[in-house]
């Protein structure tokens, strides 16, 4: 594993301390959402739609309610009316409130198999389950629209009869499953194609895939007689859950306290609410705390994957290897309600390249499938699969090295994306150079049916509001309180940034993620934002505390603050430096010299630094079975500054692992009737340890000027290049260009045979 160069200017940043939350997780003591227990707790179960598309004519819950042990049954009728078109922010995506409400409990229609229709709270899970079978729902079954191209056709069954298509920012009068069609344009692609010596045009299809978090959704609610609602749940954004629940239930946000538990993964799938409003309503109705835990099948059938897509890419280049024009069309399956990440995908699609003439069209299309959710760099991986495959084909046609081609066309500071914004300081060139110099790229690949592929990827990264409190303890440690769910080791990364400012080791900081009543507003864990924005808040809070500590030292020495210097955890009195106090000594004297001290900061982190990554993948394809093994994979990524390099490498490896899964075997396999046939981890095939090579990592550090330590986000961009890198490698291995994901053995074999070079 390549590591970062030592950073002599820092004592904590860039080191690899043991994570603060590690022990509890390793010994199984960490509390996850399903672990919540309390007196009088009831169990809730959800009744789900057996049809992908149907009108609900009536729901009879009387038999279920009469079953001994059942305490309450609810349906959409119990959700305070929110027939509102107001948009609710989900962090990486947004949704209309009435759609969010129907996704929590279906109103007059069900729009996918697995959509929640009713819920029961009972004294045991078994009774609740039995009660579900006593609920009678009278459905009028409707024909479904099951994939994006069918759903876009005139005459396709309409999911939302009242929905009017939005086109180029205007609401049209057209009733359609196309919720939105938008376009980004720069220059004139038609002119650009005239200058091209080679033009490649390809179509791509990708299947919906799951984020694959290990922990299923779970939530517990308690509704006190004073109207105060407490929710324990596994979420990527406790403040987000607070606002979604308060809005859906029409209660003041301040009446809702959300206590985030440890979270067993989210990757974008735990931004929107599913169970939280349901257990809250059941708790209100029963006067008891109520808990719901999804089964794995419910997670697959009832929550959001990342969309399936159809994409078309046309690119032209001249003999010198400059891209002269590009045209991209992205059509994403939003699922039951509008709001796929096609916008983000469209903005990322061509972001790696400095183009004069380009156009990107995006279509957000509703289909009778689960409402899609965010997944690690939402939309960007789809788009990269299409664009990076076409770029690879341009390189093949021009006989150009794929890295040299990207160096020639890649973006630098000042270049503009097709959708408008200009890049600040970015590290794409540095990433490409590091890939080019890597032993993996320089070592020839030998052997039959083997090939090496290369692909690049871009992700914006995000910032936003975050808060942090740091309190001094008498023994020289500090307690750090923050509000962002820790999914990827961010407690450690944030604590380290505070420790660096305070001149103390990371293990002297005890970081805790607290509930929404105990910290200022903190936006969610998404957009690769937490180490950046939470780190900035911790930096500012530590600066605030440092300033107060210096003042206190001055007070003790009966001087002014400008006569005190703080360096490497020591306070010194200028100019002689004879009087000194360590951080710990001062900590011990606070209570007798004026009282305790704490630093605090609430920030709106704006100076976001985007991320670029590149992946080199070697594959071997069995030409008789179509099975592909990734032999070697290397990822190079600009982290800005790796606070804790091991966790940065972990993110990079995790992203590549998920990207390889997406490339080779993962897919929501729908029957023609709109049923997901593989809602288990047995048949939804994520890669196991035996399916992956050791994934080599190279961290490039082009500091983000918008952060005191140069941090860019790292969590998302590593998933972007792998599917294209694997597809490009397969092309070189077997001479077949795969354009549909997953590139599963059956599909690869069929492609080999179609090309006529298969042999028995």
């Amino acid at each position: 594993m390549t590591t970062t160069a030592p950073a002599p200017e820092y004592s904590v940043i860039g080191t690899r301390p043991i994570r603060h939350d590690g022990l509890d997780k390793v010994i199984g003591r960490a509390k996850y959402a399903a672990d919540i227990q309390m007196a009088g707790l009831l169990s809730a179960k959800i009744l789900r739609s057996p049809h992908p598309h149907a009108r609900i004519k009536s729901i009879d819950t009387s038999k279920a309610a009469a079953l001994p042990g059942v305490r309450a049954v609810i349906t959409a009728a119990d959700i305070p009316a929110v027939a509102s078109d107001r948009m609710q922010d989900l962090g990486e995506t947004a949704v209309r409130l009435r759609f969010l409400s129907s996704n929590v409990l279906a109103g007059n229609k069900v729009l996918y198999k697995g959509q929640a229709v009713a819920a029961v709270a009972a004294t045991s899970a078994h009774i609740a389950e039995e009660a579900l079978s006593l609920i009678k729902v009278d459905y009028e079954v409707l024909p479904p629209a099951l994939n994006v191209l069918d759903a876009m056709k005139d005459g396709a069954p309409l999911l939302h009869e009242d929905m009017l298509m939005q086109e180029f920012g205007q609401r049209t009068t057209k009733h359609s499953n196309i919720a939105n069609h938008f376009r980004f344009k720069k220059g004139e692609p038609a002119d650009g194609f005239k200058q091209a010596d080679v033009v490649v045009e390809r179509e791509f299809n990708t299947a919906a895939v799951h984020q694959g978090y290990i922990e299923p959704h779970a939530a517990t609610a308690n509704w006190n007689v004073d109207g105060k609602l407490t929710i324990w749940c596994s979420t990527q954004g406790s403040f987000n859950v607070r606002s979604q629940v308060a809005t859906l239930l029409k209660i003041p946000e301040s009446n809702v306290k959300v206590i985030p538990t440890e979270i067993g993964g989210g990757f974008g799938g735990k931004l929107g609410v599913y169970l939280e409003p349901v257990v809250a309503l059941l708790a209100k109705k029963t006067g008891h705390p109520v808990k719901a835990i999804m089964s794995r099948t419910e997670v697959f059938e009832g929550t959001g994957p990342t969309p399936g897509s159809y994409m078309k890419v046309k690119m032209g280049a001249n003999k010198e290897g400059r891209i002269t024009a590009a045209e991209v069309s992205l059509m994403f399956e939003a699922g039951a309600f509008p709001g796929s990440p096609v916008n983000a995908g469209a903005m990322c699609a061509l972001a790696c390249y400095n183009l004069d003439n380009a156009q990107v069209d995006g279509y957000d299309v509703v289909v009778n499938k689960q409402k899609t959710a965010a997944y690690r760099a939402p939309g960007a991986t789809h788009a990269a699969m299409a664009v990076e495959s076409v770029v690879d084909e341009l390189c093949e046609n021009l006989k150009m090295d794929p890295i040299d081609f990207r160096i020639l066309n890649g973006v630098k500071q000042g270049d503009r994306r097709v959708d408008g914004p200009a890049f600040g300081k970015v590290g794409f060139m540095e990433v490409l150079q590091a890939a080019k110099n890597h032993p993996h790229w320089k070592t020839p690949l030998t052997g039959k049916n083997r090939g090496r592929g290369f692909a690049a990827g871009f992700w914006f990264n995000a910032g936003g509001p975050a808060s942090c409190y740091i309190a001094m303890n008498p023994d020289g440690t500090v307690s750090l309180i923050e509000g962002a769910a820790d999914i990827g080791g961010t407690r450690a990364a944030i604590a380290m940034q505070a420790a660096e400012v305070l001149g103390i080791p990371a293990d002297k900081v005890t970081p805790t993620v607290v509930d929404t009543d105990s910290i200022g507003y903190t936006s969610l864990t998404g957009g690769s934002s937490v180490a950046f924005k939470g780190g900035l808040a911790a930096y500012e809070a530590a600066q605030d505390l440092k300033k107060q500590l210096i003042e206190r030292a001055a007070k003790i020495w009966e001087t002014t603050a400008d006569n005190v210097e703080f360096e490497k955890g020591e306070f010194k009195l200028k100019p002689s430096y004879e009087r000194k106090m360590t951080f710990t000594e001062l900590a011990g004297r606070l209570l007798t010299t004026g009282g305790p001290l704490a630093g605090r900061a609430s920030v709106d982190a704006r100076g976001v630094g985007p991320a670029f990554a590149a992946v080199i993948a070697d594959v071997e394809v069995d030409p008789e079975t179509g099975k592909t093994q990734v032999l070697r994979a290397t990822i190079v990524q600009d982290a800005g500054k790796a606070i804790h390099p091991s966790y940065v490498e972990g993110q990079m490896q995790g992203g590549v692992a998920q990207g390889i899964g997406w490339a080779l075997n993962e897919e929501y396999f729908f029957t023609n009737q709109g049923t997901m046939a593989n809602p288990t981890f047995l048949d939804y095939r994520m890669p196991t340890a035996l399916d992956l090579p050791m994934i080599d990592t190279v961290i490039v550090e082009v500091a983000n000027p918008g952060h005191p330590f140069g941090v860019r986000g790292v969590g998302e961009v590593p998933i972007v290049p792998p599917p294209a890198a694997v597809a490009n490698a397969m092309k070189r291995a077997i001479g077949v260009r795969m354009t549909d994901l997953p590139m599963s053995p059956g599909a690869v074999l069929a492609a080999i045979q179609a090309k006529g070079n298969g042999k028995r």
Partner: protein, 293 residues
């Protein structure tokens, strides 16, 4: 899920009596890696009693005798099978299958007997056992009987056990001199998966190890039950070990016998292709093992 009764009889007789009495309401329990999953997802709604077989000596014995061959108690977990040095040496074709069921954790519970009784078309040990000429020792209210492995499964999830009958052991003859066997399956991942197609094969060579005296081939996941393909064995009898055309003929016979369906794990065409490829590859390994290479 409703409440369940759990019993753990200590004798074969008690278990048989109990199962005969309860009929469809009771299911035997070995490792539980099939039956517990099925209960949880509501696939056996009539069952209210589990009869644990792991306290019955006849079902937990694993022993080898040069004349009698292998006695493999029906409740012996896969890990005990592949950790046994004698079994490893004598029956590598069975080890191939026992080692790839699920994962290490699953193999600690999953029994070969349970795999056989579950009668899945994809059960990995079954083609391996058919290739090894294994027989099923069955005990029931009306006494005991013995059935060739290839007759045991009757439909997906169904076997020929009658009410109250238990599979006591799987017996495999001592390997003939100059024989070899192997099992291969195809899955898209490298573990934790269900065979898209599987092939078990065994060969017996002449004393010079130049010619195939007899061969047996059996398939998984390409028919309602594991499939014994006699024509594949016949294509090889008397042929030289290096006769690739004969091996291809056996593979063709296997493909011809396969009657797969199209589902999310693979299409008919894909499965047929795999049967051909795997038959060739499995036979090559079996021959190599028989030659002592």
């Amino acid at each position: 899920m409703q409440t369940l009764e759990y019993t753990a009889p200590k004798t074969l007789k008690d278990a048989i009596t109990l199962l005969a009495q309860k009929g469809d309401a009771a299911r035997p329990l070995a490792g539980g890696t099939d039956v517990l999953v099925q209960l949880r997802v509501g696939r056996r709604p009539q069952v209210n009693t589990l009869v644990d077989l792991k306290n019955i000596p006849e079902l937990t014995r694993l022993s080898y005798d040069p004349r009698e061959g292998l006695y493999l108690g029906a409740a012996v977990a896969c890990c005990h099978v592949y950790e046994d040095a004698t079994v490893r040496r004598m029956y590598p074709g069975l080890i191939d299958a026992a080692e790839l069921i699920g994962s290490v954790q699953i193999q600690g519970r999953a029994s070969v007997g349970g795999n056989v009784c579950n009668a899945a078309p994809s059960g990995d040990t079954i083609p391996a056992l058919i290739a090894l000429s294994a027989t099923c020792s069955i005990a029931g209210p009306n006494g005991t009987r013995s059935v060739p492995m290839e007759q045991f499964c009757t439909a997906p999830g169904r076997n020929l056990l009658q009410n109250g009958e238990i599979l006591v052991a799987v017996r495999i003859p001592a390997p003939a001199p100059n024989s070899g066997a192997a099992y291969l399956r195809f899955i898209p991942r490298n573990e934790m998966d269900i065979a898209v197609a599987g092939v078990g094969a065994s060969v017996v060579l002449d004393s010079a190890k130049q010619r195939i005296t007899s061969a047996r081939v059996a398939l998984a996941s390409v028919a309602p039950t594991p499939l014994f393909v006699t024509a594949a064995g016949q294509a090889l009898a008397g042929k030289a070990v290096t006769d690739e055309a004969a091996i291809q003929a056996a593979a063709d016979a296997a493909v011809a016998a396969a009657r797969p369906i199209t589902d999310m794990r693979g299409t008919i065409e894909f499965r047929k292709q795999l049967v051909g490829v795997l038959t060739r590859r499995t036979l090559h390994i079996a021959i190599q093992r028989a030659r002592g290479a």
